[in-house]
Symmetry: C2
Amino acid sequence: MTESPGQTAPAGESAAFEDEDYRRAVIDLLGAIAYGELTAFDRLAADATLAPSLEDKIAISQMACVEFGHLVQLRDRITELGADPSAAMAPFRVALDLFHAHTAPADWWEGLIKAHVGDGMAADFYREIAAYLDTRTRDLIVSSLEDAGQSDFVVDRVRAAIAADPRLGGRLALWGRRLMGEALTQAQRVAAEREALSALLAGGVDRPALDLAAIGRMFIRITERHAERMAVLGLDA
Amino acid sequence: MTESPGQTAPAGESAAFEDEDYRRAVIDLLGAIAYGELTAFDRLAADATLAPSLEDKIAISQMACVEFGHLVQLRDRITELGADPSAAMAPFRVALDLFHAHTAPADWWEGLIKAHVGDGMAADFYREIAAYLDTRTRDLIVSSLEDAGQSDFVVDRVRAAIAADPRLGGRLALWGRRLMGEALTQAQRVAAEREALSALLAGGVDRPALDLAAIGRMFIRITERHAERMAVLGLDA
């Protein structure tokens, strides 16, 4: 075990944390991502039970454990910032649980697409936000959102399945659009309800604000990346 | 990544592996334990969805990932021994899936007892067998069966719950007996069906046999340890 620098030296923190609003916003953001990782673990573990082979089951379970490893890092950082991880995650339970309830995969293929496309969208969104934060928070978020190995695995499996049954492509393309729509609905809910996060987007003394035009451009980039991921899978966005 | 010594130096293997029956028996045993770890991962991840708090949910999910880590080690060793991991696990799917189907926890508490008592029994059984094997196989099995942290967590949670509701103790004591009975049923099924494993128990040129008396004493020890675990939980065995 290496020593965690943050525990011994609060001085090692970015000056941005002297702003209490900033600290609260970062805790909010880490709480949202952490709960997202926990639900990703849940969902991938549930998807694993649908796997057509032991090899696929192990591959998906491994992804679940990678997501869980990210959660642990985020939880420890929330604690280091003086907050309770469960309390930090709690405000995001409704939105993320609703997202998952509304997008329960009907089969193995829908689960694969959700793992790849859903996590990809979430990662793009959080990375966009992270660009406005202190270096340490940004690095933690970026490493938490690293691909858990799903991309190659999912692309390989889905392309082969569509080649074998082209009708599957139509159904999965619709599924991808539904995931995008539901993600936007829940993201808007969170943005409307969480003042700390909204304040973050509004900027601070030493931080640039995300004006409406910037937010608009951000959503265009996220939508474009979603379309690219769908195209790699051989699906219309 | 460190180099795996087995891939470059089959000479590093115990001389016991020159006996093809021994090699097959070890692959069988590792396959059984590996599939057990995979089902443990599944089950703990499913139990996590029943957790009464985010803290409990994270604790159980962490155990699931520890079990998965063991599976990865076993899978890699099976590959190193020249076998296909999925094929090595396949013969044990029916018995282990039936065990889990017959002992699906009705609630969080039954899940906790199963994680603790079920895994404890399996670990005792495999450790007994491991004592008859070459050092490397024995070490791998023993490390794969290390407590994933469930003992302290489960003992703490279950004792507190029984103190708050003594009737829960009666129900969970019955549940513990059912787990033991079902485990014995499935263990007998495996012993009867898997010739390689039976041959292992029968010994070899340079290995002692487990005679019937030794097997009898082994089951007495496993039963005693089960009773001890139940007692620590405050439950009659």
